[in-house]
Amino acid sequence: MLKTLNRLLVFREPAVPRYEFEAGREDRPSAPAGGRAPSGAKKPAGGAPGDTAAFEKKRAEGRRLDAILKGNRPLSTSLDENERLLKEIFREPGNKDIVFRPFSIGTERPRRALLVFFDGPVNTDRQNLSILQPLMLFAGLRPDRIPAERGEPGPAGQEAREELAKRIREALLPGNEVSPAGTVREVVEDVLNANTALLVDGLDTALLIETKAWATRGVGTPQVEAVIRGPQEAFTEQIRINITLIRKTLRRSSLVTEFLPVGRISPLQCAVMYLDDVANPALVAEVKRRLKSVGADYVNESGILEQFIEDMPGAPAPQTLATERPDRVVAGLVEGRVAIMVDGNPWALIVPATFFSLMQAAEDAYNRWPPGTFTRLIRYVGLGLALLLPGAYVAIITHHPEFIPTDLLLAFAGAREPVPFPTAVEVLLMEAAFELIREAGVRIPGTVGTTLGIVGALILGQAAVAANIVSPILIIIVALTALGSFTIPNYPFSNTIRMYRFFYIALGTVLGLFGILVGLFVHLALLARMTSFGVPFLAPVAPVTRSAPDYLWRGPAWEQEERPDYLDPLRRRRQPRISRGWTQRRTGKGDDRPDGR
């Protein structure tokens, strides 16, 4: 309030700001200052003629440059022409990020050359020491192989040009990754990837030199999938680091990482990782097929990518398993699943995902099996509570009071006596309040986060009861529901479940437990109908397939003998029947060591 007042007094902002550009407005004062006009304003009716012309000109220019990139235009031998084209593509006179650094290579007869790179994401030390220094200063040190200057263009010069390119690449650039490029498009893409392009006058090949130095966050601890026991590393926003984290845990030659660019306006690298000798090739092919076909404008989060590649967009559960934990990805890869990562975000997708994999936490496997199974069962109880408790409460209270022990019933009735709302309204009110608090908790800036706790505790706790808005029993119901929903380890799945509980409240209100059972039946039918990359969502329960004891019941680690049948992996068996070799008496015949490789 004070801030607003201050701003108004001191800065005296004009009450109605003047806009230079307004889409679709008839009397636009001037031509669009920059940027594209929105597509809705293709032909502003009755607009000034100069205006439309500028718009159309800009559009034509964009299309022409796109065509150059898409058309795989080869580089010219003329440095000037290449420079002009690249400047045009990078919108140089306006764009201050792109750097064109002309210099000359210190050969006997100096040659003009040009470095193209973005200011910021490149490693300047590396540029100085391993590109500019050798090219400018040491190019003449080994005169024996300096190519002679013969006729410039034509077939005779071609040999010399290749010789020069080879010489620069092999002898003069000490960088670890240098690759030649023949087209404008390759140059542009690599420069966008924070590498440096070296263009030499007279050569129609550019050299792309690795100089990436993106600003990234270090490897941190998992924020969402925290565990007590187990690795405490999480993915970061840099895909290379993420892949490194996986390779660090899974050192196997058959671990394949394939890159597929996704997105039209700014293609981001998507990595597809799988074990070549375990994952079903059909599954890998299907993942790649779907990724290649994605015609998305811009995909910067795996959550967006997920929506493009999932089997059933309207289904009542996520069909990919998003995780920020490298160890979970590795566990998935070892089972024969495929991991998809998007550059620039710390969430990997594991496909196919099943209901039971969404309900697993990484820690289940790290604990001994009795507590592992126990915590997993607790989680299923939580799932049931989160989904059904408020609905069942309304149903039982309003339709089946004979279910409740008399004393409890009288306690409920007594507590409800001063509450003016019907039970269903009361439940909806409190559940909505809880959803508000949860959503606010996510959105609230950290510095004022503590106030939320106070407000939430007051609304959900004391005050609502004291004001006779809700009965105290309902607070318990809402709290149990909330706790239940937070035990679901997969956040997207938890959100889905929380949403569906409102359906169950409606069904419980209208039809009682019968309604809830009908709803549950339909819900299960929908889940059973779902597939994730062709794998039934409820596998291995529906349809029944073979699986190690690792869905409802978490068996001991040495009982996990087979990979899930529904993945149809190339290697079915994970471990021999007896993987604790020491429990057997030595027979001297053969070695019973687990077949890990």
Binding site: E402, T406, G414, A415, R416, E417, T509
Partner: protein, 411 residues
């Protein structure tokens, strides 16, 4: 997107169809915890409802509600039948009366003796009425019992009734008398129903006579006591055919329970065989279900031999005699068997000669002797029962002697 929207709207429309007809709020319902039925004064029946006042039993912490007020409301009305009385209540009870939490059903003795089944048995059809409801006969008017029933140790009347009727498992003198049992026993040829007897505390004390009397000679309404809540449950009413034929005292009820197999536990005080005027106290449990052997003699009369295997522990030896020694334990066993035998003879005499009603449910065992239901019906057990040859045998074994190895004698 259109499909999703369409299905959403369709689901909403389907949800509107049922219309919430069964939706009823807890606080808009009057929870009847007990029903009393008596011969009417201005109509056929006097129906008494005991209604729990939830507001006072479990007051909301937010305040507002009374607190400290009465947890119960008892209201009586004159009506032609029970279910029409329920409708009647709308006239002065602002909430809808609901029987789904009714715990007991009490019939006044006067009504029970003239017409028991006609007013109670139709309830089996009524969906709100649970078959686990306790059926009790009031030793007096049910109306009075319900007016005096006020929980002392509990807050909730539901718990009061649950505890009172559930006591059958802790003593021998309260029969297990839920609606289902009474209904089946009363309706079946070959058994008489047994309903627990409930009464209001006696009004004046008996004449002074400090001699030994077994506790089992009493029944509800005559228990010599002072203080505590006003109502009491002890003994049983025997229901044969369509009406009640008589009452059993505590000991007789105990024998009936032993033969029926619903006996769980009792504490028996028996005369010391070697010290007149001194007594032994033992705890008695069933060892095995009773073995009932029924034979139909050549004359068509049934001969029944009942063996009741019991076991138990010695709780007290007043005389200090060393009965707990292995070679003398049998003396305790014989004494207990003798005492039980006396009770059994009294009960059998009542069953065969006073009531002519098989409240031991021996007919259920006899039934197994007949190949078809028709044969069993033709046999007419109820008519032959009074003249049947019935013998009881108790087999009591002492298993434990308590936590004293020997009584220390203060001489």
């Amino acid at each position: 997107m259109r499909r999703v929207l369409t299905s959403f709207v369709l689901i909403l429309m389907i949800l509107c169809l049922p219309g919430c007809w069964d939706y009823r709020e807890l606080d808009e319902t009057a929870w009847v915890t007990a029903i009393g039925l008596d011969r009417g004064r201005e109509n056929v029946l006097t129906v008494t409802l005991q209604i729990a006042v939830a507001r006072n039993i479990a007051p909301a912490p937010g305040g507002g509600g009374g607190g400290g007020g009465e947890g119960l409301v008892v209201t009586s009305m004159e009506a032609p039948s029970l279910l029409s009385a329920l409708e009647f209540t709308h006239a002065w009870i602002d909430c809808r009366v609901d029987l789904s939490h009714t715990k007991v059903f009490i019939v006044g003795r006067e009504l029970a003796e003239s017409d028991f089944t006609a007013f109670i048995m139709p309830l089996a059809r009524f969906p709100e009425f649970r078959p686990t409801v306790g059926v009790l006969v009031a030793n007096g008017r049910a109306e009075n019992v319900l007016r005096e029933a006020d929980p002392v140790l509990e807050l909730s009347p539901g718990k009061l009734w649950d505890q009172m009727t559930g006591a059958w498992a802790a003593t021998e003198f309260i029969p297990r008398s839920d609606f289902r049992r009474v209904y089946i026993d009363t309706g079946s040829p070959g058994a008489a129903g047994l309903a627990a007897l409930i009464g209001v505390e006696r009004e004046k004390e008996g004449p002074p006579d400090p001699s030994h009397k077994a506790k089992g000679v009493h029944m509800a309404g005559t228990i010599p006591r002072r203080g505590g809540q006003k109502i009491e449950v002890m003994g049983a009413a025997v229901i044969e055919g369509d009406r009640m034929v008589g009452v059993l005292n505590g000991d007789e009820t105990g024998v009936a329970k032993m033969v029926r197999g619903t006996f769980r536990e009792m504490i028996k005080t028996v005369p010391d065989p070697r010290h007149p005027g001194r007594f032994l106290t033992v705890r008695v449990y069933p060892r095995e279900p009773p073995a009932v052997d029924v034979r139909i003699g050549a004359d068509g009369m049934p001969r029944v031999a009942v063996l009741i295997p019991l076991e138990g522990s010695i709780l007290g030896i007043q005389s200090g005699e060393h009965y707990e020694r292995p070679e003398r334990v049998h003396q305790v066993e014989r004494a207990v068997e003798k005492s039980l035998m006396t009770d059994a003879r009294a009960a059998l005499d009542k069953a065969q000669h006073e009531f002519g009603a098989d409240f031991f449910a021996l007919g259920y065992h006899a039934k197994q002797r007949f190949p078809t239901w028709q044969a069993w019906e033709e046999f007419a057990w109820d008519e032959k029962f009074p003249d049947a040859e019935i013998s009881f045998d108790f087999d009591f074994k002492v298993r434990r002697i308590g936590i004293l190895r020997e009584t220390v004698l203060w001489r």
